[in-house]
């Protein structure tokens, strides 16, 4: 149970564009992918997928396929066959909602034209596990595959569970991540009615003026391999999943525990799993949704779990520039964190200006910050919390310089 889990490839499609490097560079440059209060991923599907695959994939699956292609290319894998015994290569890709566009379109067809016109592809496209299945099929992965669905914690759960599958010796490698494409009017209306969405249309995590999240879409995929498997094939290691902690608030359908106790336990578990102390944490990629409740509760959780270190460590939110990618958020943010660790930089919480009472950590409001690590390999936490009270925290380590 103590195998190292290394990251050898990352891919992302986000409202800042196609590509993990694009996300990192544009985020650090202060660019935003949010326009008119929403954040869409812009891509031409035919550039990446053939007609058959494109029409057999809901948009969330298309996003996952494109991100996976990038991650596998970086890892140096062949597209149709993994470099390890394929029976020992898995695929764990989560989503918050799944193919809601396909589902709602099918329902419109049903109402307008009757059951005989509903596409036989409606179910296999909308099911939340469609992306995991599509990636396994396209890339010839015959090990464990499934889709964690834990709302906005799904991406982090996927990476955490994938790292467990490798650490336990069940898999030599796992393609892991999350995907979401939920820009359907029903989702906007429903999140809006919950008062979860920002009325101002601005994602301002941890700022006193924050008024809700901005909905985004996209996907993040990581190639995880056991340290031995990666070494055996001479792979370049980008970083490492060193710890994973998952807990439940068991408190409320949507609201986090006010004191952040559930999230704090997940942070402590992730650190303990990694054999690290609070003092070892060099950067926190926060869940930071820009909702009044999350950002206050998460701040308390960080103080409870990290003690004095919480006040020293830079804490920033990718959601300040791409909005909230729901079930893809944890995966995209893990990708962003690995690139940040690679560059030894804490990217900024873009737009953070006004301190809120009690939200007194270092939210990196003044642009990207060089990590002061004194030659050691930096460590970061990536937090994800989902409706339902699901908390998943990853401890990630960069690669030696």
């Amino acid at each position: 149970m103590d195998k190292r889990v290394v990251i050898t490839g990352v891919g992302a499609v986000t409202p800042l564009g196609v590509g993990a490097r694009t996300l990192h560079t544009r985020w650090c440059g202060g660019d935003s992918g949010i326009e008119d209060g929403t954040a869409r991923a812009d891509f031409e599907v035919t550039e990446f997928l053939n007609r058959k695959l494109a029409r057999r994939s809901d948009r969330f699956t298309q996003l996952a396929l494109i991100a996976a292609q990038e991650a596998l290319e970086q890892a140096g894998w062949d597209a149709d066959e993994p470099p390890h015994d394929s029976d020992r290569v898995g695929c764990i890709v989560g989503t918050g909602i799944g193919g809601i566009g396909t589902l709602m379109h099918g329902y419109d067809v049903l109402n307008e034209s009757g059951p005989g016109k509903v596409s036989p592809l409606a179910i296999p496209l909308m099911m939340p596990n469609a992306a995991a299945g599509a990636l396994a099929m396209r890339h010839g992965l015959h090990g464990v595959s499934f889709a964690p669905t834990s709302a906005c914690a799904a991406g982090a759960h996927s990476i955490g569970e994938a790292s467990r599958a490798i650490a336990a010796g069940d898999c030599d490698a796992v393609l892991a991540g999350g995907a979401e494409a939920a820009h359907h009017p029903i989702a906007h209306a429903a999140f809006g009615q919950m008062d979860a969405l920002s009325d101002s249309g601005v994602s301002r995590p941890f700022d006193a003026r924050r008024d809700g999240f901005v909905m985004g879409e996209g996907a993040g995929i990581l190639v995880l391999e056991s340290g031995e498997a990666a070494e055996a094939r001479g792979a370049t290691v980008l970083g490492e999943v060193v710890g994973y902690g998952a807990t439940s608030d068991a408190h409320h359908l949507t609201a986090p525990l006010e004191d952040g106790a559930g999230a704090a336990r997940a942070i402590r578990l992730a650190l303990a799993d990694a054999g690290l102390q609070a003092a070892d944490v060099d950067y926190v990629n926060a869940h930071g949704t820009s909702t009044p409740l999350n950002d206050a509760s998460e701040t308390r959780a960080l103080k409870a779990a990290l003690g004095d270190r919480a006040y020293e460590v830079p804490v920033s939110s990718t959601k300040s520039v791409i909005g909230h990618l729901l079930g893809a958020a944890g995966a995209v943010e893990a990708v962003a964190t690995i690139l940040a660790l690679g560059e030894r930089v804490a990217p900024p919480t873009v737009g953070w200006e006004v301190r809120d009472e009690g939200l007194d950590l270092d939210y990196v409001g003044d642009g990207p910050r060089r990590l002061d690590v004194n030659g050691k390999v930096p460590v970061a936490l990536s937090n994800s919390f989902g409706f339902g009270g699901h908390n998943a925290v990853l401890a990630l380590k960069g690669a030696p310089a």
Partner: protein, 84 residues
């Protein structure tokens, strides 16, 4: 379908269009081509059934599907049922 005559050629063309839309390579769509070779599966054939139901009022049933091995098989069955 009252005032237009359904021809076998028209059916052939419509089927080829549908298969192309499903992702089959246009140059490979010939009467002798098997659905397997074209990577057209049972889900595609259900969609084809919906199209010919709409266009020709012809029903392709679940029990028909296993018998349809080639593009020509499908065109023949549709033409027969449409009286083309």
């Amino acid at each position: 379908m009252s005032d237009t005559t359904i021809t076998r050629e028209a059916i052939q063309t419509r089927v080829a269009e549908a298969l192309e839309e499903f992702g089959a390579e246009p140059s490979e769509i010939t009467p002798d081509a098997t659905f397997e070779a074209l990577d057209v599966d049972s889900l595609d054939l259900v969609e084809l059934g919906q199209i010919v139901q709409e266009d020709y009022g012809v029903e392709l049933k679940g029990e028909d599907m296993p018998k349809l091995k080639t593009v020509g098989n499908a065109v023949d069955l549709i033409a027969e049922r449409a009286g083309a």
